[in-house]
Symmetry: D2
Subunit: 303 residues, 4 copies
Amino acid sequence: MDYQELLNQVLEEVRPVLGQGKVASYIPALARVDPGQFGMALATVDGELFGVGDWRTPFSIQSISKVFTLALVLARDGDALWRRVGKEPSGNPFNSLVQLEYEHGIPRNPFINAGALVITDRLSSLTGDARGVLREFLRAESGNPSVDFDPVVAASEAEHGHRNAALAHFMAGYGNIENPVPNVLEHYFWQCSLAMSCADLARACGFLARHGRRVSGERLLTRSQAKQVNAIMLTCGTYDAAGEFAYRVGLPGKSGVGGGIVAIIPNRCGLCVWSPGLDARGNSVAGVEALDRFTTLTGLSVF
Amino acid sequence: MDYQELLNQVLEEVRPVLGQGKVASYIPALARVDPGQFGMALATVDGELFGVGDWRTPFSIQSISKVFTLALVLARDGDALWRRVGKEPSGNPFNSLVQLEYEHGIPRNPFINAGALVITDRLSSLTGDARGVLREFLRAESGNPSVDFDPVVAASEAEHGHRNAALAHFMAGYGNIENPVPNVLEHYFWQCSLAMSCADLARACGFLARHGRRVSGERLLTRSQAKQVNAIMLTCGTYDAAGEFAYRVGLPGKSGVGGGIVAIIPNRCGLCVWSPGLDARGNSVAGVEALDRFTTLTGLSVF
Amino acid sequence: MDYQELLNQVLEEVRPVLGQGKVASYIPALARVDPGQFGMALATVDGELFGVGDWRTPFSIQSISKVFTLALVLARDGDALWRRVGKEPSGNPFNSLVQLEYEHGIPRNPFINAGALVITDRLSSLTGDARGVLREFLRAESGNPSVDFDPVVAASEAEHGHRNAALAHFMAGYGNIENPVPNVLEHYFWQCSLAMSCADLARACGFLARHGRRVSGERLLTRSQAKQVNAIMLTCGTYDAAGEFAYRVGLPGKSGVGGGIVAIIPNRCGLCVWSPGLDARGNSVAGVEALDRFTTLTGLSVF
Amino acid sequence: MDYQELLNQVLEEVRPVLGQGKVASYIPALARVDPGQFGMALATVDGELFGVGDWRTPFSIQSISKVFTLALVLARDGDALWRRVGKEPSGNPFNSLVQLEYEHGIPRNPFINAGALVITDRLSSLTGDARGVLREFLRAESGNPSVDFDPVVAASEAEHGHRNAALAHFMAGYGNIENPVPNVLEHYFWQCSLAMSCADLARACGFLARHGRRVSGERLLTRSQAKQVNAIMLTCGTYDAAGEFAYRVGLPGKSGVGGGIVAIIPNRCGLCVWSPGLDARGNSVAGVEALDRFTTLTGLSVF
């Protein structure tokens, strides 16, 4: 396939929806972003890279970081991890707390905030420096040594982080947080603040397209673990729209409120699309549309 | 591929788990079933049929019926259907009622009981005879004119159906049930009581492998609608184990407490496996294992 | 005390709020009532009767009936009753269903609808005719042989009774309903439809002011049981405003959406006030105000 | 009445249940207490003091402190306080978080932990030193200048305080906490650690028996505010047993997991009873029994 041509065509097709949706506004650093931006990148498993639009512009990766911390912990803990966090979808957000109570402090999956906090907690225990290890990993996989945190965003997250603090303390009350809650929160807020471009992210998620092998060829995850991550992305990766995303796009994907979405075509490539305008469920309007167009044009969807 | 050889091998590999799990016991008619039984069938999109074990033995299809009623309503109502039922996973069963209240009587998806009741209600409105239309459809698609309801099972369901009655009345209070509740329940209990074999079901779900075309070639669903059904099966088809099933099997599937599971390999075949012993989440132990073996042997999983 | 004078003065003091609030509108029979009406009656433990305003006008007693069915069952079952229903307040109405699920089908108290359905169910089992026994009791206690059901209201309740049907089936699924659900519902809807005046109700609740003795002198409840009923009225008798009612009025009371409220001054009298305009929590605006005035004028409140 | 004689008799009557129940064990400092202890004190509105058993032994007042912080804030804020916390019972503890979410961070009443945290937060804002102001107040009202915090208990509370931290952060996310969460928690844990005897507490709650007047004659609360506090004690003061307590004791009361209970007889006296063994709902077994005996012997109950 001529990927560059495909990306060009996708850009043409999504032009009508560019600027639609609302930029995340719960922290000022995100609210200031120009909503009309759009970028998309594709990195093949062999290292080729294609892009279109603002594909070199760094943005706040936010919840996309959860994919990478999950992989880093799974690589070290293996199935023991699943004693502390589930692998199942979680229903509407209203129920997050009651569900956590009903299931005695075990979050439903690693992509809801409670689950991601457990993962960051565990990564801290395993490495002593969750955010540092994450940054090193992303620099290596993206091939971009300047990938870094945004301290303004991290500080903003901390200031508006009461709900995450509540979740962490709640789980700590059940014994499901190992480190002091303020430390866990700090690492978590920093990981969310990472600034990366579509190019960076498309490459960085390549290990999932390569069934667990890093860009260096070294194995991070077993084949089976890579399948676990992909399956969780498909069923839980796009907030309360996983069913809709599965139908329209049909690929394992993970979105963030910064407007980015990564998606995986196993054996072929990692994809990343970015546009800051979000729909009511927190996913990039133009991003979902672009991935929908891409899988329709290529026939590469799962179903 | 030599499908018969594959099925034979799968049977050998699942032998160690045959008889594991617990047979559904909430109604006597199900509790009496011999737990050691196992059958598996595969029907290609071109009409070839393969089977192994007890693949000709009829069993109670239970919730598998929800796939077919969904398709029959979607074919008639199109996207208007999604105003009355969602397409998203639902979290743990404890939350089903509070979720229904929070979302004003709109069930999360067509495969939880509340959603299936809405579908049956709608099929009644559209056809005047939900259960009759369903039986005709399944006879035609399976090529087996003797497919029929089991009146003993249907009566048993009705006798133990208080929770379904509660759900139906609850939704009726929100105006999301069109027909008298007792009528909806009656059709629902009958549809669950349908007795079919693996051979019947593997053929009957072929229209989803053929992107919406019936065995006659006639189109039931548009391509897009067939994708919708498959996506809902993948994300919501196996009760509270959809994430686990996605990872292990990686195919759109739907299970029933009778011990059956249907699964779809788009463009290739419909599959049905049956073994009555259930795991803690209500899915056939040997059934999930068999599908896991099958996709591992063939590499035909989604991820 | 000169009760007549007191009631006259209360009427003067509540005039400014007469007509405030909204008449219950979920069934047409209630929605048609003139909101400007107001009546209040006081029946002493020795049989004297005083009244003011529309105190002789019958209105729909609705949930006030729950006090009487509770007493009739408690008289027969004693403490065994508390195995099927609790005695504790229930929090906001949103939680009624999740609470019922969490507590395995045991309602929190006899005055939420779920609890009242259990009581009616039990009264049916004990007497064979819950509504008939209730009517006889109320005719005897009120001294008014024409107390009767309103078939239009009863039919209306049944037509809009899906939520009560859901509750009853839900509890039946837990084994906490003994009779067929439709029978229980029918008796329940009839009991809610009883039409009585302030005069009737002030006399009819006299047994609670007499620590359990009926108007005939015969004992219905033990002293201790009468205290139980009074305590439940104080803590759970006015929907989600029991705390507010306890502070403002400080008497055991029970309200209904028809706009009536009964209240008990132990050893002295039964009170009933009626005015159809309801506040946001379902209690009569002028009714609560009148009881507030009355206890302030007499200093007869609990606190 | 001969109060001393009454207390002596109550002690005789409760002897059979002394030592029953389980001492609170979530923090070591409480778990070490001898469960066989029992004390009871009565302080009349005129300053007379009576006592029996271990009535001079200090114990951890825990949640009884919530009565005093409520009064101190209500005295300063008046009805404005009710914008930040409700006055209604809250149902079973399982629902505390979902209720808080449903009601947008406004706790149901000042005696559940969430509500007490709001009160402490407000007292901090109003006085700059919530715990210090509370200690001064209790020293003055009890007439015991040595009333003080127990630093071991306070530290223990902090160590096991994740659930309270979760509640505070959760409400802070809704804007219903004004001060930094760690500060609020610190003051809260200190206030719970106050060590006082039955004699101290019986006197200290006298202002509620005097309709708001302090021991000095100075008015703390208006008559109406004192009624508000009493009403909340009656409907919400004994965890999930308020209905039971209202029936058995029939007085405004507040219990703590240290085994203490204060109760108010308006116009007459403040009562305090203490015995460390708790029932399943967290109230002192012998304490409730003693108050039950006392009101039965004196006929002073509400009902």
